[in-house]
Amino acid sequence: MMPKQVKAIVIAGNGTNCEREVAFACQLAGADVADIVHVAELLAGRAKLEDYHFLNLAGGFLDGDDLGSAKAGANRLLNAKIAGSQETIADQIRQFVADGKLVMGVCNGFQLMVKMGLLPALAGGSKQSCSLTFNDGGRFEDRWTWLKVDSDSPCIFTRGLDAVYLPVRHGEGKFVADNKQTLGQLEQQNLAVVKYADVNLHPTMEYPDNPNGSECAIAGICDPTGRLFGLMPHPEAYIHRTHHPRWTREELPEEGMGLWMYQNAISFIREELLK
């Protein structure tokens, strides 16, 4: 019998600009297939999410970030009908999630998940309860940050990880919740998976270690199942030692820390979904 294949899909759209490296990270982590598929192809019905196990929403400025980061894009995915049907891409994603598959959104992809209500999906619903808004500094920033991982989190992607060093590259990355209750639930259920931290790996509100002023220093969250994960920093941007800003002066392993998240995803798919 043919061994079952792990199939990853990376959605590209008007304005995404990280789909190539996300697909490459999936491949490097062991995915047998890592297809880059344009939103238009999904809407034309030529490609279907059901053919994949791992959905990646990549960084960029989908649909021009009109109406706020990823907002117009979220509306397109929620409302545009797939050719010849009444189904939307959001419907396909909901089925994908119900099938126990994995979704990861990075940067603009995280903004997209939050604005579609896919994260944190606390009550299992899809009402938007959080957002990512303008950095406290008021400007776009590219800088590397330490992230402390909540080791008690149900998140599949961060299993076995304690801390990771990754770049943020965003203007709207400040995590905010609609109320204290939402924040409290995120903390209690260990859904605030990664937090901006100082060099001693203590979560911090201090700039620049916390580059945007995110509430509770939250850099990324997962849903209660741990299978949906979104974060502002870019794991796909640290998969080889030459990505590290100080690789010319430090002894570093070949593999970058961001790759671990993709490896966790692929292992889960092999062990839990393809078993």
């Binding site: 190539r20 490296e21 776009f140 590219d142 800088r143 030459t242 100080r246 010319t248």
Partner: protein, 442 residues
């Protein structure tokens, strides 16, 4: 944009455009009439012959007259405290850190960046150039760098252009770019060079343009660098009332090329204490148009000149040293000269540097401040681990290569002169602060 699409593929093309939310309109087709025929609602609005379209504009004749300015070197008092002079230079707008601007751009998108614009122990030192891997499963790298030095135009645009080309190329080789696999782009930003009532000095400005282009030809041929593109913006003048401001004749010389293995790229920050510090290239009394003179309100006349032959030999040898991984760090000398380059290397790496000016190959009779701040071209600062000293020095045998000092644990820039007289003794944190402060909050 306009595209030519074969008639039998038009339908498929329009369908694809529609699917991708791109508005596409069929405007017309190519004919053999020999005319550009344009209609609106069936009525002809233009009917122009191909000959007129291609040859119709008469060749312009722009008078140019080169008249060298009568300039001289200033009488500069010997500075009392060179620490202060260095700090003042580090804070100058052309030299200080541009981090607040650099961070505002995504310089890592597509995850191929190998040498970032900000490097060093605290991710904030000034990189000479960028290296990136456009193909993610290959270690072949693309190197991108720039040279720009408009202040030299106040003396002679010929040498401004030569220096911009050399600066672009030495930034490029500093990180490991292959000097024999490189191309340039000449980007002109110029003032109106056509003599008129509004531009009474047009003949001089046109001559500046001619001289810049002569240097462009001479030096690109000498360095073997093809120009693959460029741009020009030729009317950068501003008039309000009787005041007219023309920008200095400026060329941004962009360089793009290849490094066979991006893992052999070199960054500018010093790497470890006890490494040896080398200066490649001679230092001449060339402070005309320098940042040092500008700080003193002077222009001078000794504009830096480029010796392409020796520079090319040096860059090729440096490439060999980089290929053999003998180079721990490499930084070009540009605005502010040797002193600024030493300071930047030290605080980017988080270690001190101790050097002796007496070891610098400088013109006879040059003063210490002149050696420190001269902007002679084609010079680079290199640090080398001691275990590589012999091999490195053997490679540069017969060339201008001076071992001027060492990297040290003590976080201080220490420059001594004749008889070990201390000329500069500054904590690197202080130098870094002077360099970072001006535009930090911008």
């Amino acid at each position: 944009m306009t595209l030519a699409v074969p008639a039998d593929k038009l339908e498929a093309f329009v369908t694809l455009a529609k699917e991708m939310d791109v508005e596409a309109t069929d405007l017309g087709n190519f004919t053999d009439s020999g005319y550009f025929h344009c209609l609106f609602e069936g009525k002809t609005v233009s009917y122009l012959s191909m000959e007129f379209l291609h040859e119709g504009v008469p060749q312009m004749v722009i008078p140019a007259k080169w008249q060298p300015k009568s300039l001289s070197e200033p009488e500069v008092e010997t500075p009392k405290n060179l620490n202060d002079e260095l700090q003042k230079l580090l804070s100058r707008l052309n030299i200080c850190s541009k981090e607040s601007v650099v961070r505002r751009y995504d310089h890592e998108v597509q995850a191929g960046t190998v040498i970032k614009p900000l490097v060093g122990v605290a991710n904030d030192g000034p990189s000479d150039a960028a290296v990136f891997r456009p193909i993610l499963d290959s270690f072949t790298g693309v190197v991108v760098s720039h040279g720009i030095c408009p202040s030299y135009s106040d003396i002679d645009t010929y040498h401004m252009m030569a220096c911009a080309i050399d600066e672009g190329l030495r930034n490029y080789v500093a990180v490991g770019g292959d000097i024999d696999h490189v191309a340039g782009l000449d980007n002109f930003c110029w003032c109106d060079p056509v003599q008129s009532e509004k531009t009474p000095d047009g003949e001089y400005k046109a001559a500046q343009l001619v001289r810049a282009n002569k240097a462009l030809y001479d030096y690109c041929v000498a360095f073997g660098v093809p120009l693959i593109s460029g741009k020009d913006s030729m009317k950068n003048d501003y008039q309000i009332g009787d005041t007219k401001i023309s920008i200095p004749p400026t060329v941004l010389f962009s360089v793009i090329g290849k490094i066979a293995d991006a893992r052999k790229s070199v960054s500018m920050d010093v790497k470890r204490p006890d490494d040896l510090v080398y200066l490649l290239g001679d230092t001449h009394n060339e402070l005309g148009g320098s940042e040092y003179y500008a700080e003193l309100g002077e222009l001078g006349s000794n504009v830096p000149k480029v010796d392409a032959e020796s520079a090319l030999h040096r860059y090729r040898t440096l490439n060999k040293a980089q290929e053999q991984q003998l180079v721990a760090s490499c930084h070009d000398l540009s605005d502010g000269g040797l002193a600024v380059a030493l300071a930047e290397k030290a605080f980017a790496g988080g270690y001190g540097i101790k050097v002796s000016l007496a070891k610098v190959a400088a013109d006879v009779g040059m003063r210490e401040d002149q050696i420190l701040f001269s902007e002679s071209q084609s010079r680079l600062l290199v640090t080398v681990h001691r275990e590589n000293q012999t091999t490195f020095e053997a490679l540069f045998k017969g060339q201008s290569c001076q071992r001027i000092g060492t990297v040290c644990t003590q976080p201080e820039l220490l420059v001594t002169g004749e008889n070990n007289k201390v000329l500069i003794s500054s904590p690197i944190d202080l130098l870094k602060e002077a360099w970072q402060a001006p535009l930090r909050e911008m």
